[in-house]
Symmetry: C2
Subunit: 510 residues, 2 copies
Amino acid sequence: MSDHPLVLPFDPAGLVIDRRRGLSQQLYEALRSRVLDGRLSSGTRLPATRDLAAMLALSRNSVVRAYDQLYAEGYIESRVGDGTYVSRLEKISTQLSTGLSRGLSTGLSTFHSKVTEDLSSNMLSSEPLERLKSNHLPPPKTGAPRAFRVGIPAFDLFPFNVWAKLQAGFWRNPDRVQLGYGDPAGEHGLRELISAYLRRSRGLSCTAEQIVITSGAQQAISLCAQLLLQPGDGVAVENPGYRAAGHTFAVAGGKVVGIPVDGEGMESARLEQLKECRLAYVTPAHQYPTGVTMSLARRLALLAWAERRDGWIIEDDYDGEYRYSGAPLAPLAALDRQGRVLYVGTFGKIAFPALRLGYLVLPSRLVQSFSQGRALAMRHSEVGTQCVMAEFMAQGHFQRHIRRMRKAALSRRNVLKAGWPVGVSGLGPMPEVAAGLHVKVDVDNFAREQELVAQAETVGVEVNPLSSYWLEDSPVPVDKRAGLVLGFAAVPEGEIAEALMRLRKAWRKG
Amino acid sequence: MSDHPLVLPFDPAGLVIDRRRGLSQQLYEALRSRVLDGRLSSGTRLPATRDLAAMLALSRNSVVRAYDQLYAEGYIESRVGDGTYVSRLEKISTQLSTGLSRGLSTGLSTFHSKVTEDLSSNMLSSEPLERLKSNHLPPPKTGAPRAFRVGIPAFDLFPFNVWAKLQAGFWRNPDRVQLGYGDPAGEHGLRELISAYLRRSRGLSCTAEQIVITSGAQQAISLCAQLLLQPGDGVAVENPGYRAAGHTFAVAGGKVVGIPVDGEGMESARLEQLKECRLAYVTPAHQYPTGVTMSLARRLALLAWAERRDGWIIEDDYDGEYRYSGAPLAPLAALDRQGRVLYVGTFGKIAFPALRLGYLVLPSRLVQSFSQGRALAMRHSEVGTQCVMAEFMAQGHFQRHIRRMRKAALSRRNVLKAGWPVGVSGLGPMPEVAAGLHVKVDVDNFAREQELVAQAETVGVEVNPLSSYWLEDSPVPVDKRAGLVLGFAAVPEGEIAEALMRLRKAWRKG
């Protein structure tokens, strides 16, 4: 103690221990906070464990454990033949900033009020965080599915009993080889089965080696954004379109440019006018959200543009399995001879979104980079989900389930079509729906769109305003952006009919 | 045909159909490729379905399906009262680039050879792809775990039967609410249980709202890189250190700066000299790979630096549960009063890596941004894994398993220690191992390190050269970077003893 003449003796006052919680942990925390805020200053001699145990009516063991922990972490030290002292933290005080020093001398309350100030006046000073603020995804629609939520398939029909059995089977006796770090591109068995499925059912020739498994379509898009864009690069997206993709490009530093969509899909010719743009994101099979199928002419023009620009096309085939007349259209990627198309597929619209399982089919020269990019993003996907899906496909459940889902969506679409209100002011007719899980209906103007959406909400029916799918800075007048987007697969036929009844009432009143 | 006087009639020669595969799909593909490569030119009249069926000895149905598909995709068109023709694709030919036009006129073989050329002479012209090339993760060590693989816990002891039962239980009757899109921060129940675990067992006070679930520690680090860095920003990392983290920062555009590590951990004082650096990545509990625990003085200095710089500290507590004397050390985050520390935790070292489940504990003001960032990266984690882990924790299996794993690792460490070869030229003794799943042993120089690693490999034993954990441009001479890193938990005691026997032989010979 000779070199610390001003140190006060240890004072146990205020050390209140709550007997319902871990005793040594509480004592450790109480002593630590006193060391940190200066109430227990460097060089203070601590009582022997036996004495402190008696003072606080604790077992000696609890005190020993608390001291051990404080010692291990450097807060206290023992002097041979003497006793236990608070460590000499002053040796580092010169390195401490004013803020922390003030904290050390004036107590924890200062810290806490400072944190509160920081929270209110806070500048999160990094550019990516700034970009994120102006590009956040709308919070997902949660709660049980209801009519007419967009993006939700008929997952009430998923064979959960089969899935449960396959999960149990996989986990009861997993192959040890699969439990360490896996291939970032995904389990090879699953990639083989996906490539066979795409070849056989979707007319897309590809090898297992071209496939990289992702956590849903969103991760596929995000990887593309991170690996193909540098800050300031242009990205062409459909307008109206899938806003989450646009946000993903914007957060990666891309300059998002909306391209109009007409009855043939995105107007590819407009891409020519864009400078500094080598990436386009499209939904050719069933444009999101208008439902238009991109014409062959536009597809070829798009491919030609990508080739001339040394660019890339992301083809998001989010619901390509749902086609109600004829086979599903061959993807744009099947037309691509130059290795310019990155094809995005997902199991979320056949199984259910919370599965978070999707894939990219890549031009061969990109596979290695995307696989590496994914390794850095998260190493790889959880092994069980991949292996169970592989088994689900290998046993034929997947193909059976696609047929079941297509039939269900068609039947639900028919109920929507049959019960669609007619004669509602400003509301267009239900168009033919040849594909997908949602439909767009025209509305005369923006004010009426907002009214119809709000009236639907009052009777518990979810309809989405088409205007929310447009980029904010579109040149198109706001009244031309009006419409309704309705998902028709999320709930069974009975619930759809019932929702339509409520809608008719709500909308006729208005 | 009047406007296409030069069009040749349809010629079925070469249309060979393999009867073992889908007939209409093959016919569709054959006709499509002829349209695309110009063998079937615009305006060619196609035979009636009945006639083509007869020519090819197919059912008429197969031909109808193929025609339907070609029609739906725009390759052929029908003229009222006339017949079926190849579409007039010349209307878009002006938009086609030379490459694609050449393809259209000279056949598919040109395309294929062009793709091959592209592959060899290929420039992947985006900066992120370039950065990826020089910052790739080494391929994961695959195959069954063997002695002395680093980063693998004793997952042979994981209660897979319990996990299988919980998986089956979850999937047999899942809550429909959980199958749509979930909270990007993760399932709330799991976040509650993690925060309770951290408070009770790790001395880290935090709420469930501060926790964001990730796909393993790697995704946590990757999110930090994407959200906290902008291109050109400095990032301080330990040197030697966890190279995968460094690569992640570099690919996000960060300038990675190595800070030396001594017996007290990273030399925090050196951070003062770095300009333009507001982010540090550290492993304070058990430095990776040297095993040093960061001293209290260094911890406080690091926190003070972050506060002064308005910066952030990523604390990767990858194996903090493994402490063989006393309780685990309280994390750096428990000392943080200013909201500067982003704490990274993982289940991979308690359960098994292929689970890909980890979490971030964030300063409150960052939670919203990270949750949004994760939504853009992949929406959220697969629901089953999260809910099953929550149940595993709630039923007490997790805490029991931690104790089991700690005991197993300690026992395996003891076998390694007892059998460590002595008297091998240039090889240091086995140090005390107080924490973690691996240990670093000194070696005299680089040449000897390489020799020992190679000799071990000849007898099927995996030891990792310490030199590979250093940044390439370290100022430290290469001989000072030598050492061996051994994971001791991956395989049971018997296999460890046996591997040591082989090592002793291999190294004595050398």
